[in-house]
């Protein structure tokens, strides 16, 4: 742990002084009333009362003061050594493909070193050695405060191409702020070209170099695989290491699924290693990429295109018995030529066509009318490539002129040396015409053709010729047929008629033809292919960067990867070609450490932690504790005050109402609600009556207990002065016992408040309740009713009301019309639809959960007041109807 401003720690020397001061400072004087003050005036006190601070309080204060001083000295945990130099710091980051593997750790290491520079108050600049995809040349950023540089460092990303050491070296040399600067270099461990020494020298010339040594994170490079007959061989290149390493290569298809996997072991000290992946050809054709298992980077991905696909080729011969004879059989040379790069299948036509075949080679097999030819024609139309070789049988069959599956019409007979239409000496091949797929293949003089079949001259013959002899006679012709193609070699597939099959040219020609079979663009053309999708620094396919330009199709094997030619997929959908990082890259070479550089490790640098703010927070907490303790010591934190505060807090937390409950309804007054059967309505009724009871308890002398649910016929109704009855739409009709109980209750002075909950402003809230009420009232003995007006005693039983709203308002409330002196003139039933329970209801948090409609606190207050009037009416009868109250009421109304 170090201190950024250590001189502040000298303040700790003042702590004993503080102690002395606290002890010496007198406490605040207490006050006393004293009549004989006159005698005290003028007396000189010789001593001073010392502060009677308890030692632990003193210690607390000293610790708090000490913490403040230490925090102000800005301690830092896990701080590294200070960087040498005083001027600006140049951060050189290698952000090529090799740095993507542990990119986050590199940034953290750079950040830690920047922390140290920031503490020393230095500025910084950034150089990323791999140019970004924007096409701008490498440049050192402006020297800026380190806080701004951190933002730029956070936005830096690894690129999919190697760093440009030469450009970086020249940029370093021409840096203007290089006075008294020092360099922090985060390398990727590779030289990335021959210019590394110049680059290192340029850095050293600027100032002292601190190199962040990578923790043996050598980045492996996956090279393009070689395809063999039945397997794919993957190659891995990396910097030679002291011990053997294992790597896993996954072969993935286009949808990201891994189809195969192989493990490569790189021996100690070796720089390359290989391993095969065995796959059936159908699976192989689905592969789109090979990925190295591990941290993602552009060097761990190899994309595959058509060049690695295997197209099955079927072979049919005219003479099946001798077809395979070595050196003379018609199929022998074909086999030798095709086997290394395709899968060959033999069989009869039907079998061959059953499986997936791209190319079918017929060696001197004429096709007369029949099922075979129809099948083949259908197959060609669907996109197959039919390669036919001529021979004696083909030459004979042309006389019948029934073979239509030929690209051109053939003349009868053949031309042979010494024949009627003959040359005097064997003819050689002419250079291939530019539109043929063989264009670019070198033609040697050794190839001589002795005999061939001739094509009938026609207008389009020249267009259909892919290879011709030196005198212009076509040797290979072709014609498209539907989606497929028919190609005819005018010589045999063996060495009878020419020595073409003996040459290497034959293999190349066949290879080109097989590649042609699925519309693969001519890899030797000079068409420029635009980048379609490219890899970013982490090996993901993304949009091509702005600086990427197209590449000529014939240069794919030789172009090194750079910002202008990033690795990825080029060309149109149908003819994608792939440029891989490892295609033309030299083997990775380890970069030497820069001479004279201080080495830091990536792994060991934990982020520095400033302890200042936490210590200050702790000191503040201690001072708060000290204040509380001082108040307590002086007696100001009186028990009564703190108890009141605690109780207030508790009151705020808990619910406001606390209605008492008692099990026996006979001993305490309580309201009741008739269970309707609907749990929601019953809940509202309960909450409403609880709220009303609470309200009544607070404002009147009556004390109501918790309301009870009541079932007429089962519960004894005689204990309840007031029953609330919410009507629901599907309420069942009253049974005899229920009706009898209710009638009995009402005739002996009970009051039932019937609430249809749908009236006035609440129309539609509870449809069907009025109908239900009508049915229920059939069995109840309801006296004649009249609207409740302001003259009724209910409107002045406690509050003076003119309106009786509940949750809704607007509709009339019905009470008994005539005064019944036997019942103390109290109406046994009050019928309305204003949903009073919802207006009275109080939720568990103390708020009213149901809004009044049309709204306003006034309406709710009026609803509560009506409730209180009801309760008073039920408890005192028509007490307020007494004439003795009239003057007071009149006076009240007059006010």
């Amino acid at each position: 742990m170090i201190f950024v401003s250590p001189w502040v720690l000298a303040g700790l020397l003042a702590l004993p002084l503080l102690w002395w001061l606290i002890r010496v400072t007198p406490p605040a004087p207490t006050s006393e009333i004293f009549p004989a003050v006159r005698f005290l005036l003028g007396l000189n006190a010789t001593e001073e009362t010392p502060a009677r601070t308890p030692w632990w309080l003193l210690l607390l204060r000293l610790i708090a003061a000490g913490l403040v001083i230490v925090a102000l000295a800005r301690p830092v945990l896990d701080a590294g050594n200070a960087l040498v130099g005083k001027g600006p710091v140049l951060l050189v980051m290698d952000n090529g493909w090799a740095s993507a593997g542990d990119w986050v750790r590199r940034k953290e290491a750079a950040g830690t070193l920047l922390d140290r520079a920031e503490r020393a108050g230095r500025k910084a600049a950034l150089l990323a050695t791999a140019s970004d995809g924007g096409g701008a040349p490498l440049a050192i950023s402006v020297t800026m405060p380190i806080a701004d540089l951190r933002a730029r460092l956070a936005a830096l990303q690894p690129q999919a191409w190697p760093p440009d050491r030469a450009a970086a070296a020249s940029v370093l040399r021409s840096w203007k702020d290089a006075t008294d600067a020092s360099v922090i270099y985060v390398p990727d461990g590779l030289t990335d070209g021959p210019d590394f020494d110049r680059f290192a020298t340029a850095m050293r010339d600027i100032g002292p170099v601190t190199e962040v040594c990578c923790d043996a994170a050598s980045s492996p490079l996956l090279l393009p695989p070689t395809s063999e007959a039945d397997r794919l061989v993957v190659h891995l290149a990396q910097v030679p290491r002291a011990e053997a390493t294992q790597a896993a290569v996954l072969a993935q298809s286009g949808d990201g699924r891994t189809l195969a996997r192989t493990d490569i072991t790189v021996p100690a000290g070796a720089s390359t290693a290989s391993a095969p992946i065995a796959l059936p050809p159908e699976v192989r054709n689905r592969l789109t990429r090979l990925v190295l298992d591990g941290p993602p980077s552009a060097g761990s991905v190899v994309l595959l295109d058509e060049r690695w696909r295997r197209r099955p080729v079927g072979m049919l011969s005219g003479d099946l018995t001798t077809a395979d004879t070595p050196f003379t059989g018609s199929v022998y040379f074909l086999k030798r030529a095709l086997e290394p790069f395709t899968e060959l299948r033999a069989g009869d036509t039907a079998t061959l066509l059953k499986r997936d075949i791209s190319v079918l080679v017929l060696a001197d097999r004429p096709l007369p009318d029949g099922a075979e030819r129809d099948a083949l024609e259908a197959w060609v139309r669907k996109g197959g490539l039919l390669i036919r070789f001529a021979g004696p049988r083909t030459a004979e069959a042309t006389t019948n002129d029934t073979d239509t599956l030929l690209p051109v019409r053939l003349l009868a007979g053949d031309r042979q040396l010494g024949g009627a239409l003959s040359w005097s000496q064997p003819a050689g091949l002419a250079p291939f015409p530019p539109q043929s797929p063989f264009a670019g293949l070198p033609v040697t003089d050794e190839i001589k053709v002795n005999r061939q079949v001739l094509a009938e001259p026609s207008a389009e013959l020249a267009g259909r010729t892919w290879a011709a002899l030196q005198d212009g006679t076509p040797l290979v012709t072709e014609a498209p047929e539907g989606a497929g193609r028919v190609v005819l070699f005018h010589v045999t597939a063996n060495a009878d008629w020419s020595n073409l099959p003996l040459s290497g040219l034959f293999v190349e020609m066949l290879r080109r033809l097989v590649q042609l079979s699925v519309g693969v663009a001519n890899t030797q053309s000079t068409a420029v292919l635009a980048p379609a999708e490219t890899l970013d620094g982490f090996g993901l396919l993304t949009q091509p960067p702005p600086a990427a330009i197209g590449l000529q199709a014939d240069k794919f094997g030789a172009t090194p990867v750079s910002p202008r030619h990033p690795p990825g997929l080029y060309g149109p959908e149908s003819g994608r070609q792939v440029l891989n990082l490892g295609t033309s890259m030299a083997a990775p070479e380890p970069a030497p450490a820069i001479a004279g550089a201080t080495l830091e490790t990536i792994r060991g640098s934990a982020r520095e932690r400033a302890l200042g703010p936490p210590l200050l927070a702790l000191a503040v907490v201690l001072l708060c504790v000290d204040m509380l303790v001082s108040l307590a010591l002086r007696g100001l934190l009186k028990a009564r005050v703190s108890a009141t505060a605690a109780v207030l807090m508790l009151l705020m937390v808990s619910a406001a109402h606390a209605l008492d409950t008692s099990p026996n309804p006979a001993t305490d007054t309580r309201l009741g609600y008739i269970l309707s059967g609907d749990t929601q309505v019953d809940g509202i009724a309960k909450a409403g009556l609880e709220g009303l009871s609470d309200y009544v308890n607070h404002r009147t002398a009556a004390t109501l207990f918790e309301p009870d649910p009541v079932r007429p016929g089962e519960t004894d109704l005689s204990f309840y002065p007031l029953l609330y009855w919410p009507i629901i739409a599907d309420a069942p009709a009253l049974t005899g016992a229920q009706a009898a109980a209710l009638n009995d209750y009402m005739s002996r002075g009970g009051i039932v408040l019937i609430d249809t909950r749908e009236s006035g402003s609440g129309a539609g809230f509870a449809p069907g309740t009025e109908e239900a009420l009508r049915q229920i009232a059939h069995s109840l003995i309801v006296p004649p009713l009249a609207p409740l007006t302001g003259e009724h005693v209910l409107s002045r039983a406690f509050y003076l009301l003119s309106d009786f709203p509940g949750r809704f308002t607007g509709d009339t409330v019905w009470v008994q019309r005539d005064q019944d002196r036997t019942n103390d003139s109290v109406s046994p039933v009050i019928i309305g639809g204003n949903d009073w329970a919802a207006a009275w209801a109080i939720g568990p948090d103390g708020n009213n959960p149901y809004a009044v409609i049309p709204g306003g606190q006034h309406q709710r207050t009026l609803a509560y007041r009506f409730g209180v009037n009801l309760v008073m009416y039920a408890l005192t009868g028509n007490y307020k109807g007494d004439q003795v109250h009239v003057p007071a009421i009149l006076q009240r109304l007059g006010q």
Binding site: P35, F39, A45
Partner: protein
């Protein structure tokens, strides 16, 4: 009869009640000493006070009374806190009758000096009373009043 308002002397039973009611009434113009009022000659006056006022004022008053002539008795009522000064520490003493405040840093150290002053005041009072022919008594409020009253009665009866 109370000196403060010019009420006539009464001898009825109600007089005692009126006396107590008078005592309860607090007067804003209280100067700490009873005022000089006209008294009949050869009467007896009993003064109850803490007599902490300056000695000149007391001397003037007593002189006026004794010039009438009036016989008298002075009873000084003191609080035990005033006599003993039992406080400790740093205390600000506030006067009750516009005397001001005294901030004493350490009361234990002035206790002796204060007691000296109080004793000096009391001895001066005694000498003033002796000169004027008045009696003088000191009563502490934590002692039972019977003793002081007995002394007072004896002194008054002796004249």
């Amino acid at each position: 009869m109370m000196i403060h308002n010019d009420a006539r002397p009464v001898t009825s039973r109600g007089g005692l009640d009126r006396l107590v009611a008078e005592l309860d009434r607090a007067d804003d113009e209280d100067k700490g000493l009873p005022p000089m009022v006209r008294l009949p000659r050869h009467g007896t006056v009993v003064l109850f006070s803490d007599f902490l006022s300056p000695l000149e004022e007391i001397q003037t008053l007593i002189g006026q009374f004794s010039a009438v002539p009036v016989r008298g008795y002075l009873m000084q009522i003191l609080d035990p806190a005033e006599t003993a000064l039992p406080y400790t520490g740093r205390i600000r003493f506030r006067g009750m009758e516009h005397d001001g405040d005294a901030l004493i840093p350490r009361v234990e150290s002035v206790r002796d000096a204060y007691t000296e002053r109080l004793k000096a005041q009391q001895s001066d009072l005694a000498s003033i009373c002796a000169t004027a022919g008045f009696g003088f008594g000191i009563h502490r409020t934590d002692h039972p009043p019977e003793m002081a009253l007995l002394t007072l009665y004896t002194a008054l009866a002796a004249r």
